[in-house]
Subunit: 293 residues, 3 copies
Amino acid sequence: MDNVLGVLNLGDFAQAFSKMGMFPVFDLAYYIVSILYLKYEPGSVEVSRRSPVASWLCAMLYCFGSYILADVMLGSSPLDYFQHNSHILLASAVWYLVFYCPLNLFYKCVAFLPVKLVLVALKEVVRTRKIAAGVHHAHHAYHHGFFIMVIVGYVKGSGVALISNFEQLLRGVWRPDTNEILNMSFPTKASLYGAILFTLQEAQWLPVSKSTLIVVFTLFMATSKVVMTARHSHGSPFTLIESWTCHLLFGSPLAGSEEDHHHAAAAAAPSSPLKTKEEQGEGVRKRKAKKAE
Amino acid sequence: MDNVLGVLNLGDFAQAFSKMGMFPVFDLAYYIVSILYLKYEPGSVEVSRRSPVASWLCAMLYCFGSYILADVMLGSSPLDYFQHNSHILLASAVWYLVFYCPLNLFYKCVAFLPVKLVLVALKEVVRTRKIAAGVHHAHHAYHHGFFIMVIVGYVKGSGVALISNFEQLLRGVWRPDTNEILNMSFPTKASLYGAILFTLQEAQWLPVSKSTLIVVFTLFMATSKVVMTARHSHGSPFTLIESWTCHLLFGSPLAGSEEDHHHAAAAAAPSSPLKTKEEQGEGVRKRKAKKAE
Amino acid sequence: MDNVLGVLNLGDFAQAFSKMGMFPVFDLAYYIVSILYLKYEPGSVEVSRRSPVASWLCAMLYCFGSYILADVMLGSSPLDYFQHNSHILLASAVWYLVFYCPLNLFYKCVAFLPVKLVLVALKEVVRTRKIAAGVHHAHHAYHHGFFIMVIVGYVKGSGVALISNFEQLLRGVWRPDTNEILNMSFPTKASLYGAILFTLQEAQWLPVSKSTLIVVFTLFMATSKVVMTARHSHGSPFTLIESWTCHLLFGSPLAGSEEDHHHAAAAAAPSSPLKTKEEQGEGVRKRKAKKAE
């Protein structure tokens, strides 16, 4: 692979790309998209009116959840990243603009699809770099701790999604029926596979340089997420391979076969009826709350 | 401010006051008031009969929750404070006397209003010192981590309140609809403001000496809490300023204006219907449990 | 006690026994029994089909929960034990065989009562060693932290049971009404008493050598658990002493007395109606899920 890139004279580009600073442009895109997703969560706007402190804490978890979790996993202070005052101030400014900007102007600008697609692509650049940094950091602490490298890289890539139950609890919402590990979304799955790839690279079992892997994985993530965001899709490019692998290894029902079709369709979205039910419950609760107001 | 105190010859007093040891008198008052509040919690007496270990753990969380949380936040062992055997033994003795003293004598003594008011005042002395110590400790670990200082000071002042959901879970109670950050009580809010003040002082942006700040903040907290305890009030001296600030900054409905009055009244206590409902549920559960006995 | 053993020439045996390596035979038995218990949990097989990652994580918590918790308690990285790749791989292999072995062969072999009794006995050998190691490790970190020693030893012996609420949450199950501290099972109670004994020994308040204590406690645990497993009993040899001690110290209703009999019977199993109700709820949910398939 390095040879192909060498012929195309892309090796230098990969080097430069993998050394490029993330602050402030890419980090800003990361904060904006993350806090946008927070605003999409049902009830988060009410929380921002009632308790700005809770809303700010949730926004910080959305922006820095991956650092907090990775620090916890490696036994450091969970607040370690909060020493970077400029990052926190930037994320706080984004949070303020997304939730409290007059006429909702900022939100409308960044949620405008073409703008959002660019921001989403930039966010995936940060995610890939975080996974690589997480694996490298864990490698530094535990030279042969391959499981630790995968877990830390995974956690660095997935961030708040892995603790979404507790992030929701902070906003007064509790959905124990499901969690991100039970029903992995595309970014979480991709982070897991990415963490495995970067661990293999770090252990020198993958004949690719790290900068090349960063470029390739970034391109894959950015393309996938941009396409999925543009299509409002929640599918995943891994579905076919996963379906077969899980069928062979873990006896999961096969999504492709004729007979199992209905079965598989039900199994592929097992929590959706529960979730819908919960969301209804949530809706009822909100309606009640509105009535109370 | 220091000049005024200097004229009144209070500088020395402030110095002496801010160096005064807290163990055992003030700490004892802290433990008594904390465990008294635990006994007020519905269901805690039943738990103390059924599972003394769970009850003891809850009592320890009430007494040392602030140390545990602050140690977790700074990446130390959460059990670090438990090396002070005399403190743990004292708190355990208080727990035993409050819950199991024959004829409920100890409880009746310390819950007697005049005694309780003195203890509450002493407890606030400890709280202020904890906030100052927390900010100082965080400053020592992260010289320019102003957010970390505020968070550690806040956590040191609020203690178990911030993890009340999990403390309740230990007693078999689960109330996900609300938490201390979503509906801050007066001591939690005051701890946050105190932590901000002490951080400003530590960063030398506040032209006041630390000992003076400790004296002034202690006086404010002790007076407020004593008055509120005497009146059985749950109001807060901050309501007016907060209402205006939140209205201007975060678009929260204004409590004072005519038009919004009903709206605001409902918004100011948004969780109360839910809470009441839950407490009813709790009540039903308790009645059922009693019937079962 | 040492004298008696000396006369019987058992001192050398105790020394050898307490130095014996646990990996791989004893650890293998520990993993098999732990993951067997995970498979007994309602819903865990469905989770293993739907989300192998969640199932694997639960299995790791069952096998290494005690290390994770003890590391958290002492402020180390919770992933610290995961640097032992061979242990993780062995436990993963056991997990795979228990859940996905064709014809359920492995499960049927190890769940066959005579085999299971041997494995259960071996597991208790590991548990005792873990308690002793936990107390020793805490003693090393805090020389006079007797409470810390007891807590770390307790946590090392009880493992995943203490965080069962959160382990269940990972599988989409939430039972806040009960937890292991509120309703201690026999192994958890025995771990607590064992941790107290080993702490007394470490503080040299118990006139017994550590190796002797390990042998005696192992014998007690293995015998008790084997008898209880053979009889499918959930009783505890401590019931009588506990009942009297709790009655005298904590005013708990006495299980033995005539008058209190009905009262005590209800109080001794206070959560059972709730639990049953929950299990019914669980059953309903599972039936619904099956219908959906």
